[in-house]
Amino acid sequence: MEKQPVDELFARILGDMEIQPSDAAFTLLKARQKEKHLLVNWGYWAAAACLILIGSFMWWALGATVSTTSKRLAVAKVEPVKGPSRKVGEVLAYRAQSQLSSAGNISTNKPKESKTAVSNWNPILKAQYQKVNRQLMADVQQKELHAQITKESELTAPTSNTGLTLSAVKEVPRESLLPSSERTLIVTIEASVTADQPALAEVAPKEEATDHKGGLSILLQKVKKIKKGENLALDMDKTQHHGLSKLYDEVKESIKNNSIN
């Protein structure tokens, strides 16, 4: 379709036509630009706030997981390796688990809550707990005695502070923390830890005290030895000094006699 004269007429006259807009048009344009800019800024702020919220939530969630694992590892470090105490731990874990399941409280990850929960146990369970706790105490005392004896017999052998070896530290499988079914296992172990806490709290200073005692005895023995050595040396000095002075006196006297003669 070709252009016709009417098209050319309109194009020629209206193509370069100018119509001045109102004076307020530019002001309106500037105002709209500012408005849009503010809206865009608000959008950015909202997005930033959302990101911060999500980030903080994730940090909180990760922090909770990390703290749980660290507690678990700490428990594994403190936990005695030998037979009876482990059994005690398992028994306590079982008790705590049953108590928690009966209470219907699943989110007892925090030791403080489980510690206070002990006072709320029913009397039978409390008695069992105390019994087990006493058993644990006895075990610990026995172990302590054993450790003292071995220390006295092997003074030169190197000993660790807690009496635990590195083999006692058990790595916690990371997968066990993730599924919900095994998360309850973590809860029970933590509960056992809280049950162990008073006993362990008593054990630690005692072990430290025995170590301290052993160290003192060794020191005393060393001091005694040194003292003995010093005394001997002093005696030797005295005898030596005595002999020399005597010899000196004798020589002096003989010289005197010679000179008189």
Binding site: Q4, V6, D7, F10, I13
Partner: protein, 197 residues
């Protein structure tokens, strides 16, 4: 084509300043092109107030999309296209383009001899504003702004055949209108001539 603009020696300098969100450059662009862009908008959107709104939106789009201007054609041509697009968007938003035009308004006059000197710009603008929206839009796009029927069809979401038929009907109405204006002008001039003599 490079135009000499106050504060900015060439058009490319002005465009560069616009890219840097320079407020002075924005004002310069507005002051230089507002009149012509307003005329474009008035051709498509008949009401002046609406046309001004469209023009403001168009300038905002120009400032925002200045990075898309590749300096291959003229800056004014690029701005005109933006204004046309904004006008079409306005018409579509207000569902103006969807209105049907009754066919009995059309006249079949096509063989018309022109005497263009007697018709002014305001009168032609008035004639265009009196056209049905669809005809006006197609006529503006094809006759004045140089779009092809294929482009018009794509822009308006119609077929090329519809675009052609709307153009021919629009032309006929405009020819009739111009004829009427010419006749009245001739009568006025004759009357004026009589009283003057």
């Amino acid at each position: 084509m490079s135009r000499i603009i106050p504060f900015f020696i060439t058009e490319s300098q002005l465009v560069k300043a616009l890219r840097g969100k320079d407020a002075r450059a924005q004002k310069t662009v507005y002051e230089t092109y507002a009149g012509r862009m307003m005329a474009v908008c008035v051709r498509y959107v008949s009401k002046r107030a609406d046309a001004e709104e469209v023009m403001i939106d168009g300038f905002m789009r120009v400032y925002k999309k200045i990075d898309q201007f590749r300096e291959e054609g003229s800056f004014e041509g690029w701005m005109r296209r933006i204004m046309v697009t904004e006008s079409l968007l306005f018409l579509r938003r207000n569902k103006i383009l969807q209105k049907e035009t009754p066919l009995d308004e059309l006249s079949g006059e096509s063989e018309y001899q022109w005497a263009t000197e007697t018709v002014g710009a305001e009168e032609l603008l008035y004639l265009i504003s009196q056209l049905p929206d669809g005809y006006r839009t197609v006529f503006n796009l094809y006759a004045i702004d140089g779009y092809s029927h294929a482009e018009i069809a794509a822009l308006l979401g119609i077929t090329e055949g519809t675009s052609k038929s709307q153009l021919s009907r629009g032309r006929s109405l405009l020819q009739q209108g111009v004829k009427n204006i010419q006749t009245s002008n001739v009568v006025k001039n004759k009357g004026y001539g009589k009283t003057a003599s």
